[in-house]
Amino acid sequence: MEYKTLLAILLLGLSMVSLGQSGTPIGKDLGTTKMSDEALQSVFRGNKSIWNNQNPVTVVLTSSNSKGFELTAQWALDSDGFEFQKHWLSLVFQGRANAPVFLKDESEVVTYVQEHPGAIGILYDTAAPAELVIEVK
């Protein structure tokens, strides 16, 4: 195989991985439309329960066997979906966090977030409605 062909395949592969992992956070009535990456990670780890506008936080995730769940786990917990599921099970068992809402797919995540003030989710494969997009600072 030609060197240039190999390089092209490698670059294409890298760009696909990057695209797949860059999710778009969405939320409704969070009191802000901009958040830092660290603040978002903290929310998805269960470390925030009330937004600054006093709406309760509802974390919305796709099911634990979905690609989105795995990608969120890698980003939020620096781990995998297995550890992320245990992390949330434990938090809920302690009574220190409300359970996330798990939905079948990203279209359900969009619908849920649209209908619930304080809800926040991440989309990887679905186009995010502009009015719900949370800008990452």
């Binding site: 903290s42 470390n47 099911s63 599921q85 434990s90 009574g95 359970a99 304080g118």
Partner: protein, 365 residues
């Protein structure tokens, strides 16, 4: 009432959202005591766990446990049902939630995080302090704040029925007080300190003293005195789970002393007894050897003074090592080799045995 499955496949209704889970475990033990082998298979606690988000700010949590009576395995004769937690929580702000009901006393990491959740236990057994110094439950009022500021400061202030109360009532104006703080400066790390104070009426143990009350004096014991005791407990916890390593340290310092409300005539016969300083130390360190496997070691030391009127004196040590394997996030198996030892001459006889334990813990929903 709507129900949402935690694993997620379906959203059947939206509000209120109620989840039902069951935590349980099966255990097998083989032990050798003075060249005498014993073994058993035992059915452990089964914990029916319910959480409900009633409104966006009000939630309910309960645990109803069906547990073997009289201990595990060959000493058990049946099962009993116990409401271990039933609490309503109103979340006002990040820094203030109000909780009422029966709850785990948030004095240390183990009691606050694991308690009946054996799926989460890093070792098969609870620390020995769980059956002695730790007041495991409180029925009362709790103010809680968490994730405050950059170090994720959390606090818990609890006033509730004391250690000699039952699940139904206390029958006393005296209440237990708990003050606990923790910080989570990094993800996967929690450092906590707590203080607990109670007056144990007539040295009686109620529903909240411990899950293994064989270490407590009770009516009928030769050295049991029906005196009021001041009970103070201070705890330090350190937990870290990052990368391949997971560690947990739990220490307690417990001071019991005669209350000045006691009858002088009764107290005078106790001579030098009545004021004691007791300590416990538990350490766990585990290292991941694969995504699903972890090897670990543990050390559990208990030291209860001979002067204590509430707890039977002892100097006991347990150490061991084990291997845990997660079949999934919901099923964990552990095998553990343990050596029990101690010093003779105390109220609780020195242990001298080896044990091999196998446990499978699971969560269903």
């Amino acid at each position: 009432m709507g129900m949402l499955l935690f694993n997620g496949a379906h959203l059947q209704a939206q509000e209120p959202v109620t989840q039902f889970q069951m935590f349980g475990h099966l255990t097998s033990t083989a032990e050798i005591i003075e060249n005498d082998w014993q073994s058993d298979f035992s059915l452990g606690e089964h914990d029916f766990f319910v959480v409900s988000k009633i409104t966006p700010r009000i939630s309910f949590l309960s645990e109803t446990v069906v547990a073997p009576t009289g201990g595990m395995g060959h000493s058990s004769s049946g099962f009993k049902v116990s409401i271990e937690r039933a609490r309503l929580k109103y979340q006002h702000r990040e820094w203030l939630s109000i909780i009422v009901g029966k709850m785990h006393t948030p004095v240390n990491y183990w009691n606050d995080v694991y308690h009946h959740g054996r799926l989460f236990f890093p070792t098969i057994d609870r620390p020995r302090s769980f059956g002695t110094a730790i007041p495991i439950h409180t029925l009362g009022l709790r103010l809680q704040g968490q994730n405050i500021g950059g170090i994720n400061l959390g606090y818990d202030l609890v006033i509730g029925n004391g250690m000699s109360s039952t699940d139904i009532s206390d029958g006393s104006l005296q209440k237990s007080l708990t003050a606990a703080v923790h910080i989570k400066p990094k993800e996967g790390m929690r450092i906590g300190l707590s203080a607990y104070r109670d007056l144990i009426k007539e040295n009686s143990t109620g529903s909240h003293s411990g899950h293994s009350s064989t270490f407590h004096y009770t009516m009928g014991d030769a050295n049991w005195y029906p005196v009021d005791l001041n009970f103070e407990l201070y705890c330090f916890s350190f937990y870290r789970n990052r990368g391949k390593w997971e560690t947990l340290l739990e220490t307690t310092w417990n001071r019991n002393s005669l209350s000045d409300t006691n009858d002088p005539d009764l107290v005078s016969v106790l001579d030098s007894l009545g004021r004691s300083d007791n300590t416990t130390f538990y350490a766990y360190a585990g290292r991941k050897v694969s995504k699903l496997d972890r090897i670990y070691g543990l050390l559990d030391i208990s030291n209860v003074s001979e002067a204590d009127l509430h707890l039977k004196s002892n100097k006991l040590t347990k150490f061991g090592f084990g291997w845990s394997h997660d079949f999934s996030a919901l099923v964990r198996s552990q095998v553990q080799f343990e050596r029990y030892t101690g010093l003779a001459g105390y109220e609780v006889p020195a242990d001298d045995k080896w044990e091999i334990k196998l446990r499978i813990a699971y969560c269903l929903y």
